[in-house]
Symmetry: D2
Subunit: 304 residues, 4 copies
């Protein structure tokens, strides 16, 4: 049986989270007003909440001060039913703890801890376990693990999950790796909340026991993501498989092909402010934007 | 012919630089007094200068505020003949410029720009060139490129060097990649200063045209590194080859095997303050320390 | 609508295939009798057929002559209801065609074409498409693509599948990559037969449209694999999810941890002849074998 | 002191070897006459010998029968002063031994053993050491190790060299990895013959103790490679550095940019038969050939 405290987190983490992007102008200046207006638009969706300062939020491209400004803007703009997580993982245990404190003060409900990876070759299971546990113990808010080998080069082992998922303040994990989600679900303590980190495997993830997803596609197209969540939770195989395939196709054309810059371009097309990523991350070329627009219209998810 | 301005940088960058480590206590607290005493000891060596906030300085494990505290401590303690570079490369152009300003205000003579790598797959030659040029233009101090694929996963292309080495404020490069240094020397504009980023290929690098090196081995053993520099500059093949092989052997047993933690442990043995790395980077185990001590004594570079 | 010819292949490829191992003695000599007795035991299972000369068959560790001896032994021993595929992919188009001919003469029904990877960096989509099409055209038997980036370093792009899946003699694909199967199903022409290359994602693969699997686990434990196939085909979510998790756990302890050597050790425990892999691939140590036995008994799939 | 037997191998391996390419027509058929005429042209050079069936010989794209046909053609055409090595490394110890026997019967003086890499993750130091020793013991001819991580994904450790370099039938090593040659020289028993596997680091390799090189550049331009060998052996720093840089530049434009296909195209331009590589390895496009021709003429090594 899942303890009550764990059940509360599980309920809060169940559903679709948008990993919100950070708006910049062409010169790389932060546009907090655009951040607020994006959130206000998303508030009317069925989204469970927002992940601020994630990979799609370009958190490592911001100063710590800017990170907190972004977080504050989101917290102030979010409707009260939305759950707010913030990326609080730095390269050292010490700085991660510091950022958890700052994020908590600024209103984040959960911290998300990317695996430190600057010294990737030295990040043994033992080192990672100690890191996660120490940060969790010192953090004023509960934390989630964040596994993204495409960025970090580190695939979290199931042994790490097995060990830390029983910690009362390590309540879940966002997994953006291809093909490991079932193994993590299997290794985790009952009640630990697994979130799919990509629309590519959201439906199958839900069928295997994930409680939700953090989907960049939800930044531009929240509704079909929430619809797929419902189908997954209800185990509606035929309709779910069909929508999953459509969203997989869509996701490949947006995030798969272009990463954060593509997500932002899709947001611009879908009525949000996307804008350019911060240099040196390049924006889409005009030709790429044109092709993306055509692809999105052809998909049916964007009205022509 | 090399312009006078370029010649000045080349002279300043010629020789051995120690990429100084950042001292912590067991809990990960910064020990600025230890930083100062290490520098005071190194001041009496033949070192050309110090690289503060590099990979061995665990710069990404520090908050920006801490980074500046470390830099200040080094600047205040360094003798006036030592040239001070500081790691000023962040993940975005915007933040890198900000840190170059802070570093300049705190007394750094040169900034060292690691290739941004969080979005490694998107770091095309064009993106990197724009990044380096924009930072250099906005920086109050000249900059060096820093190529370290072992950490970043990005091997800078010779096309990038060819393009940016003619920029008046991009004056050199520290190359820690295995086997690319000659190609970078070949691609660079005359006068551009190439620094070997490892003792492993320091002697051959000098023979092929490098002007110096940034050698973690110099943190614990500055004198033999400076000796090897002299032999390289003078083209003394037999003696140089012999010392290079000895330092290669030594370097493999310290940095090669153990990374930053090994460099720090060797410093402890050699009369400096090394101390533990900052978590989650693990320190050497007692057995590893014992073995390291035996290896260093056997090498003859450490007195038993 | 799927053409009749395509439908026949789809029917033949639907179900579980065992990627049979190649038996050796301690000195690396081929044991064809053991090959035959293994097949005779497997004949009574619900397996759809056998993949001979795959990765688990250590095909690249055999001479071409030995490869054909193994294939002949399997063909002679297999009951008539089992479909036989053979690994026929070599590093060149020329040699792959030659081996397809030999395999056809020796009774293989389908050839399996691994992506050539010796010159991995040059294997563009265009090069791969030309290779697959040329081999298929010249081959006397239809072929399947074989995608295994863990071995080859090459992840087949969806563009390749899109292009070649309409070829009448390229009838399916075995995908051993983590996380790409849904995308391949989406990209393929209707009727193209996708086979999951690992028990880890067999159930979700079936739910998303795969027609079967080539599962090393089936070498030692064919029945639960066939049971999972039935659950997947019928869309029985609860029971299927449970069995998938059990087989995932089992698979991690066998193939995940130990690769081919583990599969062979599990076969020895399950009443087949596994024996050692061919050197230099190391066998399990006695301690590893002991632990494996305990794990398998604890799993419930091996009787103590 | 180096034993006499060892000294004989060292003498035979000292100098420049051309890793000869295998000639094909447009359809991938072997052209043994072209093989012979290339060798006859190379016979008049200062080359120490030929490596047949190496990476540039596309050995893995040939059947074993074809491999022996190629070897025979070279042995028959080579002048008696040329030393002939043959690539004899297969994926298993068993097959490698078999090929060593065949190569010896067909006249090869040395076998070259690439690290098996199909099961790369399992190729521990211990596994590799056992493989090399067992093959050497059973081989009728002495062998060299072949380290090429760019192809195999495996970087041989210095511990392997340390262990096997004292074996009387393991007489040397061809190292194509970037940046490890000095470490291998340091780890090897005195008398063990190290050969640089690329023109990129041939001169510095010689200065550090290598006895020669296996240089794809020598397939098209043997004379400047032999000239660089002389400068390296004599320690003529200034002239050597200059020629090294020129050959580095040349090598980057041929092999660096285009691999085997580029080496073959350069051979065509330099008066040999290069021809296309075997599919699926793609040949140069007409535009690439044109650019290569311009680059080679601009380099001064090809007469316009």
């Amino acid at each position: 049986m899942i303890p009550e405290e764990v059940g509360i987190h599980r309920e809060r983490l169940s559903g679709v989270f948008a990993p919100v992007t950070t708006p910049f102008d062409e010169k790389g200046n932060l546009l907090l007003e655009k951040m607020r207006s994006n959130i206000q638009k998303l508030n009317s969706s069925q989204l469970r909440g927002y992940l601020v300062l994630g990979t799609n939020g370009e958190f490592r491209s911001l100063s710590t001060e800017e990170q907190m400004d972004v977080l504050k803007a989101v917290v102030q703009s979010a409707s009260s039913d939305k759950v707010i997580m913030a990326g609080t993982g730095a390269e050292s245990t010490h700085v991660s703890i510091e950022i958890c404190h700052q994020a908590a003060e600024n209103g984040a409900r959960y911290g998300s801890l990317i695996t430190p990876f600057f010294f990737a070759k030295k990040m043994s299971d033992k080192a990672l376990i100690q890191h996660f546990v120490k940060v969790a113990e010192a953090s004023p808010i509960p934390v989630l693990l964040y596994n993204n080998p495409g960025v970090t080069g580190i695939t979290m082992s199931t042994a790490v999950i097995k060990e830390v998922s029983s910690h009362p303040k390590i309540v879940g994990m966002k997994d953006s790796s291809p093909g490991n989600l079932s193994g993590y679900i299997l290794s985790a303590k009952p009640g630990f909340s697994l979130l799919a980190g990509s629309a590519n495997f959201f439906f199958t993830g839900l069928l295997m026991g994930a409680v939700g997803g953090v989907l960049s596609l939800a930044d531009a197209f929240p509704e079909p993501c929430c619809k797929l969540y419902d189908l997954g939770i209800k185990g509606q195989l035929e309709e779910g498989r069909k929508l999953q395939m459509e969203l997989l196709d869509l996701n490949q054309k947006v995030s798969g092909k272009f990463g954060v810059a593509g997500v932002k371009a899709a947001m611009d097309l879908a009525g949000f402010y996307g804008g350019p990523p911060r240099a040196p991350l390049p924006p889409l070329t005009p030709d790429e934007k044109k092709k993306l627009r055509e692809d999105l219209i052809a998909s049916g998810f964007l009205k022509g």
